[in-house]
């Protein structure tokens, strides 16, 4: 691990030194040092929960650091809110464009700073200036149109133009390309280079490695709230970058397992798939994703953040409207596409965002577990207390849910127990296929092992499981087969002995230019990753 020493860099414009930040005892940032030089484009990367967004929020005054300091333009600063940071010259372009969609493009560009004449807004001048200004950002449009009617790329440009106009010295871009067309990405890069020429520093957050190499000068990698690497990006090979992000030096965990998964379980490779998804398309997110899950099989879904893993799961159960594609359960095509229909067919999903999409916080453990199973626990709309209690007791025992009792509010439970409650909610439906989106994220070690053991056991009982995990070892050791996604496409599949960290890292590190679907067994061996993959290439794979 490379911990950057807080040596003052002469031309640094923004410097974060030894910043700690924790929320309710959870450390989100631990002794973070981050230096942004004038006129550089600095990539900030890391998986979910690595602390990127917390760091950005500390830099822009949304949060105040518990310890450490922030120097901006040569002075120690404590921004109390985003506004102060913005006024000082730190602008942020958010992933969701933070403008006013119903107002005109010109209005958005000048809100709060409209040119005035005789005390009234000079609309004509505002429109003229806006048109001229935006043309410099490659947007040639009628500026009186509502912003909403522009493409997302153009909207982002408006946000960028606005940011630059308020005399920004630092522009922070949070996943600016996530909804852009390739051509719009090129324009964005062009603009970023222009910003750079003007001495404006850019913090660039993205999960698309190709982009980082294309536009960034330096990179900072974060993991678990700490900075694990800072340096020039040009000399850094992709595989190294990914292993830094995931925290796995490929060579180190060759032999010993790191999870509670049972390596010996026999995977079913025969028979009709319990679930078959064909050519799922979701605009901007998924492009023809297909996959099979056989009964008793754990299929891992690999990919970096933003590759379309959660979207795939959501498209399967119909929570995300798919533009095309079909889903078959046990050979029967699902005609209605909704979570309720998928549930009836025996496909359920454990959502990634436990708080927003999983628990009903003010209901009790009992009510949360029984929620989806209510129809089968009730007669004529009346919930049978006896049946319900039996079921709840069974699952609280089986999953070892630690609560003061079935009446405790789920919102008051620990993350691990909330997750078990949600698992119980789905298991009591006796599903055929279980889609697990980050089942062990944010839960303590003990609960994690329990959940992993449970997944194992369930697959042993013949359940088909789709496992999404950002933790490499969990994915590798838990899955019988791993389907690798990148930019919403299936780029490879690892089966049998190929399910290894090296192979997966290799698949993830593929050059983005090369988007053909990898053949089974091919991925990870013959992808050009960089010219010097010395240490990994020396070791024979598979």
């Amino acid at each position: 691990m490379v911990q950057q020493a807080p040596v003052p860099v002469p031309d640094s414009v923004l410097e974060v030194a030894g910043v700690d930040k924790s929320f309710a005892g959870v450390h989100a940032l631990i002794g973070v040092h981050f230096t942004l030089r004038q006129g550089e484009v600095h990539a900030l990367i890391g998986e979910n929960g690595a602390g990127k967004s917390t760091l950005i929020k500390v830099m822009t005054g949304v949060y105040r650091p518990d310890a450490g300091r922030i120097r901006f333009a040569g002075r120690d600063r404590e921004f109390r809110n985003p506004l102060e940071a913005q006024a000082a010259g730190i602008s942020t372009i958010y992933q969701e464009v933070n403008l006013v969609p119903l107002m005109s493009v010109a209005r958005n560009l000048y809100l709060g700073r409209e040119p005035r004449r005789l005390g009234l807004v000079d609309v004509r001048r505002m429109n003229r200036d806006a048109a001229a200004e935006l043309r410099r950002f490659g947007v040639d449009t009628d500026v009186t149109r509502p912003l909403r009617t522009l493409g997302l790329g153009a909207q982002q440009m408006v946000a960028l133009a606005r940011a630059v106009q308020v005399d920004a010295r630092v522009v922070i871009m949070d996943e600016p390309t996530s909804s852009l067309e390739p051509r719009e990405v090129d324009t964005l890069f062009e603009v970023i280079r222009r910003l750079k020429d003007h001495g404006i520093a850019v913090v660039y957050v993205s999960h698309r490695l190709d982009e980082l190499y294309a536009v960034c000068d330096r990179v900072t990698v974060m993991r678990d709230g700490a900075v694990v690497h800072t340096g020039e990006i040009a000399g850094l090979e992709r595989l190294k970058l990914i292993s830094l992000m995931l925290g796995r030096e490929p060579a180190t965990v060759r032999e010993e397992g790191a999870t509670a998964f049972d390596a010996d379980r026999d995977a079913a490779t025969e028979g009709r798939p319990a679930l078959r998804a064909t050519q799922l398309n979701v605009r901007h997110r998924l492009h023809g994703v297909s996959l099979d899950i056989r009964p008793g099989e754990v299929v891992g879904l690999g990919g970096l953040l933003g590759a379309g893993r959660s979207e795939t799961a959501k498209a399967i159960i119909g929570a995300l409207a798919a533009d095309g594609g079909s889903v078959e359960v046990d050979g029967t095509v699902l005609r209605r596409r909704s979570p309720a229909a998928a549930m009836r067919a025996g496909v359920v999903m454990l959502a990634e965002d436990r708080k927003a999409e999983g628990i009903i916080p003010s209901l009790s453990v009992r009510e949360n577990i029984a929620l989806a199973a209510l129809p089968r626990l009730s007669r004529a709309g009346l919930v049978s207390q006896a049946k319900q209690d039996e079921l709840v007791r069974f699952f609280m025992d089986r999953l070892r849910i630690k609560a003061s009792g079935p009446d405790q509010r789920v919102g008051d439970l620990s993350g691990g127990n909330q997750q078990k409650v949600l698992l119980a909610r789905w298991l009591c439906l006796q599903p055929k296929v279980l889609l697990l989106d980050e089942p062990t994220r944010g839960i303590d070690v003990g609960a994690k092992a329990e959940v992993q053991a449970l997944i194992n056991e369930l697959a042993g009982d013949g359940l088909g499981v789709l496992l999404i995990s950002s933790e490499l070892e969990e994915l590798i050791e838990g899955s019988d087969r791993v389907v690798v996604l990148k930019d919403g496409r299936v780029v490879g599949e690892l089966a049998g002995d190929q399910v290894s960290e090296d192979a997966l890292l290799g698949a993830l590190a593929q050059d983005g230019q090369d988007r053909q679907v990898g053949q089974v067994g091919q991925v990870g061996q013959d992808r050009q990753v960089g010219q010097d993959r010395q240490d990994h290439d020396k070791e024979p794979q598979s």
Partner: protein
Amino acid sequence: MTTLAWTGAIRDRDRLLRLLQEYGVYAALAVLFLVAVALDGSFVSSGNVRIQLFQVAPTLLVALGMALVIGTEGIDLSVGAVVALAAAVVPLYLGYGLAPALLLALLLGAATGAVGGAMVAFARVQPIVATLSLMIGVRGLAEIVNGNSAKPVTDAALLGLGSDSFSGVPLMAWIAALCALVVGFVVRRTTFGRRLVAIGDNRQASRLAGLPVRRVLLTVYVVSGVLAALAGVMIVGHGAEADPANQGLNLELNAITAVVVGGTPLTGGRVRVLGTVAGALFMQLITAVLTQHDVPNSYTQIVEAAIICCAVYASQERGTR
């Protein structure tokens, strides 16, 4: 908004407000009752109690429906208009007997609720707007149906419904109490009640858990409409006249007040039936005490307005954390 973490000193105040939300209404009701008795011993005379019960019963009925709607993070402003509609149609069909007239009124209440519910559930119009349009339109419709003047009602059965007592307690109060029991049972023990609360607490999670979100929302507004129609029939029976221009005016406000004072947060996810009953009684009692001690109606209204604001403030956000 960005979740700025202003924790710390606020926490104690939050706990206090939570306690207030949880048990405040019962304490306030008890205190108010004692004050009322202390001021005037005849307050607990059976005659006075009966008068109070007559007045509170329709409000309570409407408030029960409102509590369900608010539980789904909605609001139903059309209830007062539904009362007017019921008042308008009942006299027209009393010739066929009370039962058909009552049934028709309830059906129209259900229909009004269904229109509002469909706008909320299927067209995803904000509840306040959907029911506001019904509030305006349906009362107008009721006045058209009724004509310009109030009509006296002479049907013995209807008058009985409005003024008879059973074991010394008004029939209307019995019905309202029965409905409260049923609603309480529904909320606690039925699939529907469970779903309703879950949807109000976390709609997205409920949808992903496969709950029939739209159907539940639609049903909730229908139930609210039916209860309001029943209240309307009672009001006509008690007043012995049908006056759609005035009956049920501001009833939605009184119902919302009862619910909110009873500790149900406007942000949904909770239905406090007993609290709602206490809330309705509390508001009734405060009006009665003020009126009986010759406090002018004007000050009563101002006091009520202040209570609403305080109750809403106390029940805000903290209900869901």
